[in-house]
Symmetry: D2
Subunit: 352 residues, 4 copies
């Protein structure tokens, strides 16, 4: 049954496949006040038959929403589904929804890499729906808005790639930096690791702590390199993720060496030019703090040229569950449905 | 100039006096997406002439909003002002706005106590606008909705009192508990202490820490006792606040001894009955966690009777900056303006 | 093999059964610089054969300590073993060590309750070694020092009971309070919940959060009531534990109604009298903050009489892993071995 | 008067100038259990005449220690003083103590840079005791142990430089990396910013947050470059500090490009070779977590070669108040006094 809070008729119907995790819950939070879209169902294999509010007490307003199984979801008449499933699971469901002419916005990593071999190398297994890779559109609207508009299958970007690509794209597209000089030192809150408790996400271990992980091996590396490719030349990016003692948020500190001669003011011009018309990218005069985007769909950016070392340093922040996941997914949905891109996404950050 | 995001004409005009602190910023956050109300100005003596976004980078969307002085605010044509000022300062401004037939919603403690002598005893100074105390309406809508509807001056409740009174009211109004048995052990995030840095709010001291303060002397005690008075009998409440290593949120654990014989199911019936029609009070089957209301206007409650000890235990949670301050102020404004009470306040909590 | 850091011969040999958890690791930390005691072995069924430093990287100095199985431990020649095992498991091992004339200090809840029926009621299962309950000495040195001195089996107190009993004992032994009026509102860091990741200890859920749990049903309730019994009269204690977003530490806020007439100064006299000679109990002029005992064996106490309400309020803080577990266990061992009670426990708190 | 806990006579006498801050308190904590050294006095201009325990409640054992003024300290007969003063203040006191043949270990930045002009450039003022710069020994024992042994004035390294230099030195001294390729992305707990409350260290702002600061301009940059100079060639280091929502600890992630051909195993050999004999540097097989050294004098290091990018990545962690300040100062004192280098510093980390 439909989510009942807003009374006036909605123009589009959506559903969420995979509602037990953080991304699914965040989609519910954002869709619940979207003025043009109804949420018709949420699935969960683990909790099917239970009420959404029992699984997510913070959503306990939505008392009439019962979790269903994914196969029931296939029988629903909706315009779009969000797949909020683990990597490797989305690829099992995407085709079935597409066959029913339902748009699919996949929030896993399954359809982000265009090349099945690259997927296999970094994800360690063969792709189960490789025939869809060609058609999937990488859903970073600031770069690929037009492609998203006509997509059937949108691969919603990863959280680290969103923060990183938006920070580097203005410099890459004007070919201003040495593409082999890029170092991304990224720091994420723990929701990025998902809702399943593990030793490395146990509270006593994480609080008051900080650590690097996945050095040289993180799966978001090829995703970043792919998006930053220009004219068939792909950069080699050094990407080091870290775990912050924080629930939400990503901050990436990015280093790159500019090509040729350079002057300090140029960097601001480049970023202002790139994002002049963007509603969700805010170019800041000062380095942004991570929490200043909490709960919102903003990516805040600050870039600086260090004359002493000859390097450009960029600081980029997002909320990993919003612009890094559910918010960007809804932004993509708005584009698909020809709605205003910030429809339902106008909430300001919850700070402090 | 008016906040420009929503294009369609708004029915009411508001302004914020005191925009440098957390409560002021939270009012801006919530008003910015309120569909029926425009924000005409924000004042700050400290930052007047600066842009709001320079003081609150998370609000950097609102680039055209320049902070003005309070005396300029008095010349603005608005329907309602929010006073987000320190205790003792609000009482200097309230009368001036009232004289211009502008509704005043005061978020300080200045107009919460009906009796000037009680104010003087707990706040340690004489009241500067005692003639307004009689007229001020204590703005806890769940108890005093009708009075708020006709108020000129609304005294927005304190954060601890909001969590405490909503938890105790169902039992008090049915005269089910011994009013001298009430113990409120309350825990608050640090935003409750305001935006000014002090030794006891310095990060290294608060993180990983927890402490009681204001034992037996906190100013919210008489506010709670006043609201829980029945038939001229005032309870004597033991109130102990604590400082949590958290930015937002209050959780109060409340103990009371029931009168006469009692059975476990009764407690749930009492709370269900009291809040059946309330949109912002959610009676929970399990004890609520503090964060499950973050960013929202909910008060989540759970009550239980312990047969072994013969006591009732109630757990109550709110976001101190929303239901404990800015959200409740907007709820009061909605009532004043005959809008839907949840207008502009429908956002679900930002969790986790 | 023996822990090799200190070269001079030690007088006593100890071992730890259960070295994978937080309590076991904390025992290693404290024993490693104990001047009179050697650590001969640490067991772990899960990690047997691995190096202690692989399981606990912070202990990576101790490279020669290989984890053994518990049955190997039974063949070791030691003076004392610490059982740092889950509730229900200790009772399987205690008798075997006692039979070999090895002192046993058990850090689980297995031997704390004198009465097997009470154990069964609160722990939900029959006791597996009920014949040892009579002989076990409740190892709270400030109350039972002489009994500990002659014990074979020491039941090391729980963390909440340690903070609570030390706070109430001075009033109870002088019969100054109504024993049915006691309310203990206690707050603990997450290490109190052990090292195994669970949904309620997952970092994103706990950080920025706070919650009550085990209302009216927590197993530490009967332990507190037993220790506070006087002349066969047992108090009925209201005990409510809460989970703090903190790794270590307990703060208990305790309420009690004094008997008869009372004056404010009395409360300080009572506490000063009770703990004049105690090295690990510090009676404070101000309410202690939880973190001010971090890493140390102190219990810091502050008591106050509220004339307005007629209640005594006591604030008590400990580090749950030290005075609430491993430190107190070593304090008990020192007593058993006729060492100075603060031997190896003189470290000051790590603050902030 | 002397700190009275340890009864046996101490061989050396010390005092602390500047006891109100975190570094001063940490020196007290560590010296209080140092077996060979007595603490004769602690000064504080702000709190002179008060008891140390009133300023630092966690030290409330030390009830007889009254804070004195710095000029009184000059009359005390001690072997060594620790200057735990702000930058710019130490330079006013150092000469006076040296004239009395008292060793000075300065924990500020005042004597770390050998060149007065470099000091002026980065600290923004002329040096007030530039004649002492030549004689000051940079007190990083792992690099300059012999010089420390004969020093009168030891400049205790900064916290970031300690973590950074120890991570890079093994590669630098064997000339294995391009010295202009070094990027240090460092993250610190908030105690690194001192005990004075400021807007950017206010708890609500820091918790759940993360931010970069001092990009391209931090004063620790020239300190690192100086220590990494070889044969008069000074590297140009990119240094970016960040503020973690944590009380203690530094983690530095460091990037460098090796010279010439390289193989992955080499990096481990280089670090093993460099620190084989060091007691306080632990070379780890896995990237260290920041908290695993909390409260201890360890620097834990892990280095890795990324074949794909051709870079070396090093992760280095310390407790900024111990190895990054007070612990290293005591290590230097031990060297000066020909004590064992780990004397009084053998405590293992307090984890978790």
């Amino acid at each position: 049954m439909a989510y009942p809070v807003v009374e006036r008729p909605k123009h589009f119907k959506t559903g969420i496949v995979g509602g037990a995790g953080y991304t699914g819950a965040e989609l519910v939070r954002l869709l619940s006040i979207h003025p043009e879209v109804s949420l018709e169902f949420v699935t969960s294999e683990q909790y099917r038959g239970q009420n959404l509010a029992d699984v997510h007490p913070h959503l306990s307003e939505l008392t009439s929403l019962e979790l269903i199984g994914a196969e029931q979801a296939l029988e629903k008449d909706v315009d779009c589904v969000f797949l909020a499933l683990p990597h490797g699971v989305s690829q099992k469901y995407a085709a079935a929804f597409l066959e029913k002419n339902i748009h699919v916005i996949d929030l896993s990593g399954d359809f982000r890499l265009r090349d099945g071999a690259t997927y296999q190398k970094w994800y360690g297994r063969e792709h189960g729906a490789a025939h869809l890779l060609d058609e999937a559109v990488y859903g970073l609207p600031e770069l690929y808005r037009n492609a998203v508009r006509h997509a059937r299958l949108v691969a919603n970007p990863g959280c680290y790639p969103t923060a990183s690509i938006l920070a580097l794209w203005p410099l890459i597209r004007e070919e201003l930096i040495e593409t082999h000089s890029i170092i991304i030192d990224a720091k994420s809150g723990v929701t990025g690791a998902g809702a399943t408790p593990r030793a490395h996400t146990h509270f006593p271990r994480v609080t008051g702590n900080f650590s690097a992980y996945g050095i040289a091996t993180h799966r978001h590396t090829p995703e970043i390199e792919q998006a930053l490719s220009q004219n068939d030349r792909q950069p080699v990016v050094q990407f080091t993720p870290h775990l912050l003692p924080v629930d939400r948020g990503i901050l990436a500190t990015i280093y790159a060496t500019p090509k040729g001669s350079w002057h300090p003011e140029l960097v601001n011009e480049v970023f202002a030019r790139a994002y002049f018309n963007e509603q969700f990218v805010r170019v800041m005069k000062q380095p942004p703090e991570m929490k200043q985007v909490r709960g919102s769909n903003y990516c805040d950016l600050h870039a600086r040229y260090d004359e002493r070392t000859g390097r450009i340093i960029i600081v980029s922040v997002i909320d990993n569950l919003v612009k890094g996941a559910a918010g960007q997914a809804i932004q993509n949905m708005n584009i698909l449905f020809r709605l205003k891109e910030n429809c339902g996404l106008r909430q300001l950050p919850v700070y402090p």
